[in-house]
């Protein structure tokens, strides 16, 4: 095995693959960082180009775009509070809070180091234990996934901030909007009010940008009378505020490893995706944290958990794709297409039939992580400059990208309308104190829950007790209960502290 990997490095360390990786990383970072343009669009655009080059070059390049794209989303999340990719919207909670206090550099560093560490760990898992992991992931059928998703939903409890009822209401609103359109299972048309354009439901990207990003723009317009120097992100003069020291890195390493583990497991289960992994890891990090009140207000652990888990998914979603030929999400489906086009059929025999190619590609994956680290690190001074650009330059650009991004995903004006409607909704939610993050969680997880619940119900027939017959399911039921209990306790503790604070006044 080691000689195979060594051979792989020898193959991949030549001009073609290296150029491909560098290009892929650059394209990925830029596409990922622009709000409204996602990594999957970049991959779809580049995919046809890779049909004509060597598979080693083509596939490592596509993966470079994917990994760098997921990381790139964190840059705009931190600097302008607008997540460039869905998976990085949790990063914006803590990352932007740090940036506002002058520590943008620290937040960027943390996001990068956590991303690269998470990816590395997941890639190593992919290389060494792909086959056993994929066998375990097969054990998780629809019933087990229903319980896993229930567990993911409990994360809402730890993200609602002060008001749990408002958080739950926001989540339910998100779930309701996710149900609009034709059910892919029964063909029934729901909540469209006869508008044919809503048959496919609300497109994800415009909803995300509308709820999370555009209210920022409206807010900036509302504060136009504020002197500009008060709006510009200040960058602290202290060099210590703009980097992550080895000690800080070591202090979050536990969180990174745990979150990477969560990301790797979620990635290995087909059909859940990087956003779900980020919710779970963030919730778990907050639950087990000694300072849960810091989450959402600039916690390094928060950034580390969100970024390492969503990047770990990139590596581990390859596990079911390569070993069982099961694409877990839309990106891996495109990548699997790339493998097939090159005559490499993913499946259990891939490691024997295409040993040279596979190990060269694995070596390429590891190189992608290194290149991402170096290229993104060199980009920091440039990103930091973006942070100091006055908002009256940034927000018009964000608006243009948001509208263009909403349009290009499906090339439809309906999506632009959706963007506008959800911008109003998102701004309204802020005004009445509803929680946009909980809304998005409901919106993302609902279709997954519905799909799996429907399958689970078909499988058990009339015997609903069978829903409780799975040991793996019980693990997730237990975790859900634990998560709810600890959310209630930390909420009580927080309230008591507030009361004590008020008494002291």
């Amino acid at each position: 095995m080691f000689s195979n990997i060594f051979q792989g490095f020898v193959t991949v360390l030549s001009v073609g693959p290296l150029l491909g990786i560098m290009l892929g990383v650059c394209v990925g970072i830029v596409f990922g960082a622009i709000p409204g343009i996602s990594a999957i669009m970049a991959i779809a655009i580049i995919l046809p180009l890779t049909f004509y080059v060597d598979p080693i070059v083509g596939i490592t390049m596509l993966l470079a775009v994917y990994k760098a794209g997921i990381y790139g989303g964190s840059i705009s999340a931190i600097l302008i509070n607008t997540p460039g990719a869905a998976a990085s919207f949790l990063t914006s909670l803590d990352g932007h809070a740090l940036a506002r206090s002058g520590k943008a550099g620290k937040a960027l560093c943390m996001a990068l180091y956590a991303s690269v560490t998470g990816e590395m760990l997941a890639t190593l898992v992919l290389i060494f234990v792909a086959a056993p992991i994929s066998l375990i992931s097969l054990q998780a059928g629809p019933i087990e996934k229903v319980w896993l998703l229930v567990f993911a939903f409990t994360v809402v409890g730890s993200m609602t901030g002060e008001s749990v009822p408002r958080g739950l209401l926001s989540c339910c609103l998100g779930m309701m909007f996710a149900m609009v359109g034709m059910s892919s299972l029964t063909g029934a048309v729901r909540l469209t009010f006869g508008i044919p354009d809503l048959m496919s439901g609300f497109t994800f990207l415009p909803v995300l940008i509308g709820v999370l990003v555009m209210p920022e723009v409206i807010d900036a317009v509302r504060r136009r009378k504020t002197p500009h120097q008060d709006l510009v992100l200040k960058v602290s003069d202290q060099p210590a505020d703009n980097r992550v020291s080895l000690r800080e890195y070591r202090s979050v390493l536990g969180t990174i490893i745990k979150s990477s583990g969560i990301g790797t497991v979620v990635g290995a289960l087909p059909g859940l995706g990087s956003s779900a992994a980020a919710f779970l890891a963030y919730g778990e990090a907050k639950r087990s944290s000694k300072a849960p009140e810091e989450f959402g207000k600039g916690s390094l652990h928060g950034i580390a958990a969100a970024e390492s888990s969503n990047n770990a998914v990139c590596g581990s979603s390859m596990i079911p794709m390569l070993t069982l030929s099961i694409p877990g999400d839309d990106v891996t489906a495109l990548l699997m297409g790339a493998f097939l086009i090159h005559g490499i059929t993913p499946g259990p025999t891939i490691f024997y039939e295409h040993t040279d190619v596979i190990y060269a590609i694995f070596a390429g994956f590891l190189l992608v992580d290194l290149f991402l680290l170096v290229i993104a690190r060199f980009g920091f001074p440039l990103w930091m400059r973006v942070a100091s650009v006055p908002p009256y330059f940034i927000f018009p650009c964000v608006t243009v990208f948001a509208v263009v991004g909403a349009f290009t995903a499906n090339q439809s004006l309906t999506d632009v309308m959706i963007l506008m409607v959800f911008t109003l909704l998102g701004y309204g939610m802020r005004l009445v104190g509803l929680n946009p993050a909980a809304f998005i969680i409901g919106f993302i997880l609902m279709p997954l829950l519905e799909q799996n619940l429907d399958q689970a119900v078909s499988i058990v027939g009339g015997d609903y007790l069978r829903m409780l017959s799975s040991p793996i399911g019980w693990i997730f039921i237990g975790l859900s209960v634990l998560s709810v209990v600890s959310a209630i306790r930390s909420n009580r503790r927080g309230r008591r502290r507030m009361a004590a604070f008020a008494a002291a006044e």
Binding site: G141, S184, M199, S200, G201, G343, S458
Partner: protein, 312 residues
């Protein structure tokens, strides 16, 4: 040299004047709507075709995935699109033959002008390798004895419709478990969560090769699995194959149809295209013209009858 260039330019200009429609099409990028997710077999075959067409036609041919409502959303969009040949559809058994018959949708077979058929894949019935059902007869007997589950993709999908036509003829019943895609359905099968599944070769062949699944019957016997009987061998009438082709909205000008057929004929002879189709697991089944359209109409009729029978 200069004279030659001038002459060439003049000729081109003249041709453009003489036949405006032909010279004009295509003058801008062509959109091909795939009503399914990226990476599936219809998506991949369309992408390979689109890529080869770009070279022949000299304009970008963009593949756009418009997913939702078991293919209805993307298909409806093309049915309502301007018939100028710049919006095309990746048509298949499911979106233009099954769905209009079995669900209420705003289009039917006559909303389109068929252009070409690119490929076809045979439907197969599978069980997990350690399943007690060794052959089709055993499976039928088992399904009559107790309720078995069968993986498919959507209540009004081609998989479920074809599977229920088969079940109807063999006189058994199953509980359908609907995944998003047939690939996901295969995961549930080899994970042991469902008893059987219907699927197409791109999704099931890797699992046959690895020995994780067993094929009980398939639409057309193939060298890849010589011992497996076809549905016809088992006395089940009908054509159970998925196919992928290109349709335009109805009333598209005949010149456009001709241009597209001519370009596709060239594109589909490209060895790279044939190789890519082989790698995907799709059999090149290039057809166009009246005979093909008549065949499709006949299948459409069988579906209409089946739908009437089911609603009784």
């Amino acid at each position: 040299m200069t004279l030659l260039k001038l002459l060439a330019a003049g000729t081109t200009a003249l041709t453009m004047l003489a036949t405006p429609a032909l010279a004009e099409y295509p003058e801008k990028p062509i959109k091909v709507i795939v009503p399914w997710g990226a990476g599936g077999d219809s998506d991949l075959t369309t992408r390979v075709w689109a890529d080869a067409m770009e070279e022949v036609l000299g304009v970008p041919v963009a593949v756009i995935n418009k997913v939702g409502g078991t293919g209805v959303v993307g298909t409806t969009e093309v049915a309502n699109a301007k018939p100028d040949g710049y919006t095309l559809l990746n048509a298949g058994l499911s979106n233009v033959q099954v769905t209009p018959n079995f669900a209420q949708v705003p289009y039917d077979f006559n909303s389109f002008t068929p252009i070409v058929k690119l490929s076809s894949v045979p439907l197969g019935l599978l069980v997990k390798a350690d399943s007690p059902y060794q052959d089709f007869a055993g499976f039928v007997a088992g399904a009559k004895e107790h309720t078995l589950t069968q993986g498919s993709w959507g209540a009004a999908s081609s998989g479920t419709i074809l599977a229920s036509i088969i079940a109807d003829q063999a006189d058994y019943q199953v509980n359908y478990v609907h995944a998003n895609t047939t690939a996901e359905s295969m995961v549930s099968l080899i994970g042991g969560h469902i008893d059987s599944a219907v699927s197409f070769p791109p999704a099931f062949e890797p699992h046959l090769k690895s020995g994780a699944a067993r094929l009980l019957a398939v639409n057309t016997a193939s060298d890849a699995y010589p011992e497996v009987p076809s549905f016809a061998d088992l006395g089940i009438r009908g054509d159970f194959e998925g196919w992928s082709g290109i349709f335009a909205p109805k009333d598209v000008p005949q010149e456009v149809v001709d241009t597209l057929i001519e370009a596709s004929t060239k594109a589909m002879q490209d060895p790279k295209v044939i190789e890519a189709f082989g790698n995907i697991g799709a059999t090149v089944d290039f057809r166009h013209g009246q005979e093909w359209v008549d065949d499709m109409r006949q299948t459409y009729g069988i579906m209409t009858d089946a739908a009437a029978k089911m609603s009784d």
